[in-house]
């Protein structure tokens, strides 16, 4: 063989990806790729797939290794210098408890999903890209765990995130999101995670958490954010390529893809409600409101994206208008849910200060003072009387997103949006038209939901009392849960600060 000593980038790429594919001779294609057709997507020519990034495995390892070296150097220094003491406020730590328990296991799920897609798609280009994304997601899970393990040395609530992911009521929200995506066919998974989540919505997840970390002195989290960022831009390129490819291959793909875009936009919007409350209530130093973030990253950026995709016939996701109207409400509704349910949660909650309430009024001029300030004032009164409100009943959950049914009608914020369906003689409740459509399209799937509240009633969660359920969740009563005030986290922080001011004289 007379190969030149050094290959051109394009040639190298071609040999190390497409060049590794072969045409099977003793097994038919549909036996090798059994998942390729049942979703109804038609692909006529896989060679039309344009690889969004010309990255080969060897270069991939080199890049990632370099990023890892930088990340771990920063983490070492953060830990040696007691970086946790530079945080703006110990309340901030609750935001990263939510990240580790809610998002990190989802990264791992994304890794598994892309590994599956990377095996099952008949085209070599998307297979290679999906394999790389699969490795990225695994790396994100690992770097997040390593980063946040530093906080686990000092603060409560970080210790059992893998165990809790399969059990705790609110963690069933991101879990069921990914379970739904991973049990779909490979094309739906690709649209769900690659396009709807990574392309349309990812900025609403990563930017708030990473800027929030930067504003609040959490250098460790900022660093893993940076380390993930170049991967994220690759994922976005892949997400847009997959949607264009599917729409260009066959006109019959459009209605299928549109349905997935509608579904996964809505499911993603529901999951991101956790980020909304994090931004508006959990960050001691605020970056911007959820409403503002929604306008920039969905209304503006998403608007131009869908304008671009209109030439394929793809429309803005159904119920995008409802999601936009909800941007004035969800952070308040979610936080005040956790406020009253944090005796069963792995992080602390609190009521906003007067100053924070002023900020919320300013950011939410049409809704905060009218609907949420009075609710917060009532809770304050109760706290003052020594009767801090914990809701001892369990809430009705949505059969699709699994969030307590707290969301209100688009034109009537005082009335909960109750929807329901019948399937095989049973009733199923959903929180919105978006979730109801998803249920009605595939009732066989969602009627199997493992709804945490019903599982407790069935006796499958350690017992009937809150103490028994917490034990089954591996949440430590009096340490991981309840209000921030009086928590061991707060007490330890106050002692650190007192010691620091003694030293400073």
């Amino acid at each position: 063989m007379n190969a030149p000593a050094k290959l051109g980038l394009k040639q190298r790429y071609s040999l190390l990806t497409h060049g590794l594919d072969w045409k099977p001779s003793y097994q038919p294609m549909d036996k090798i790729y059994p998942y390729a057709e049942f979703e109804g997507i038609k692909i006529h020519d896989w060679s039309k797939w344009e690889d969004p990034f010309r990255l080969t495995m060897d270069t991939y390892w080199k890049f990632q290794a370099e990023k890892e070296r930088k990340l771990y150097a920063v983490l070492d220094s953060f830990s040696q210098n007691n970086g946790q003491m530079g945080l703006s406020d110990p309340k901030y730590v609750n935001a990263i408890k939510l990240f580790l328990t809610g998002i990190t296991p989802a990264e791992y799920q994304a890794h598994r999903g892309f590994a599956h897609v990377g095996r099952q798609l008949p085209g070599v280009g998307p297979r290679v890209a999906a394999q790389m994304q699969s490795l990225d997601e695994l790396r994100h899970a690992q770097t997040q765990i390593h980063t946040l393990s530093h906080y686990n040395k000092f603060f409560d609530g970080f210790h059992e995130f893998t165990h809790q992911h399969d059990r705790v009521w609110y963690l069933s929200v991101p879990k069921s999101f990914f379970d739904d995506a991973r049990t779909s066919g490979p094309f739906e998974y690709f649209i769900a995670i690659g396009f709807a989540f990574e392309y349309v919505l990812t900025n609403l997840l990563f930017v708030p958490f990473m800027s929030g970390a930067a504003y609040n002195g959490d250098l460790a989290t900022v660093t893993f954010g940076f380390s993930a960022q170049s991967d994220e831009s690759r994922h976005m390129t892949l997400g847009i390529e997959v949607i264009k490819f599917l729409l260009e291959q066959d006109p019959g793909n459009l209605p299928i893809v549109q349905k997935w875009v509608d579904k996964w936009f809505w499911r993603g919007h529901r999951v991101l409600g956790l980020v909304a409350m994090m931004m508006d209530y959990m960050l001691p130093k605020k970056i911007m409101s959820w409403r503002e973030a929604w306008e920039i990253y969905f209304t503006e950026a998403g608007g131009s994206l869908f304008q671009d995709l209109a030439r394929y016939g793809l429309k803005v996701p159904k119920y995008a208008d409802v999601a936009t109207a909800e941007a004035d409400h969800i952070s308040h509704q979610n936080w005040l849910t956790f406020y009253q349910a944090c005796h069963a949660a792995g992080f602390h909650t609190w009521l906003p200060t007067d100053e924070e309430m002023g900020w919320l009024s300013e950011k939410y001029p049409t809704t905060f003072d009218k609907y949420y300030r009075p609710r917060i004032e009532l809770f304050r009164e109760m706290e003052k009387d020594g009767k801090r409100f914990y809701n001892n009943a369990l809430p009705q959950l949505c059969s699709v997103c699994q969030i307590p049914m707290v969301y209100t009608e688009k034109d009537d914020p005082g009335t909960i949006s109750f929807r329901s369906s019948e399937y095989k003689g049973d009733k199923y409740h959903t929180c919105s038209d978006g979730c109801k459509d998803i249920f009605d399209n595939e009732p066989e799937k969602y009627s199997q939901a493992w709804l945490p509240v019903h599982q407790i009633f069935q006796g499958n969660c350690g017992g009937a009392t809150i103490e028994e359920v917490l034990k089954w969740y591996k949440l430590n009563l009096g340490a991981d849960n309840l209000d921030q005030a009086g928590s061991p986290d707060q007490k330890m922080w106050d002692e650190w600060m007192a010691a620091r001011s003694r030293v400073a004289g």
Binding site: Q396, V406, E444
Partner: protein, 122 residues
Amino acid sequence: MSVVAIDKNYADKVVIRDRVENFHGNQVVYVHWEDHLMFHAAMAFPLPPAMPFGALVQEVLPTYYGMHPDFAQIDWSAVRWTVDGAQFTPALDKSLKDNGVGHKSLIRFWTPGLDGYKHSRS
């Protein structure tokens, strides 16, 4: 619409986790007090179908809603009720079942004149 699945017999293999048989003789009942969103969502309770509706009103509701300043002022004879979207007047001495409350039924009630803390619907 039906599920898109690789297994053509998928629908026959579905195991519904929330069948009433799995609740040890109880049925799940959801209750929601309208215009009092201090309570973030409808509450879920596992209740025996034979339980009198009156017991729900006199025992369950005060335990979970009693801390709201409006609760003590409710005129129960004026309360408007729906079960699964249909208006009804509960017979307090009759069972939940005989009042039309089934497994996973949603009971909503409106208390005229009471619209939450400082009229905020909270």
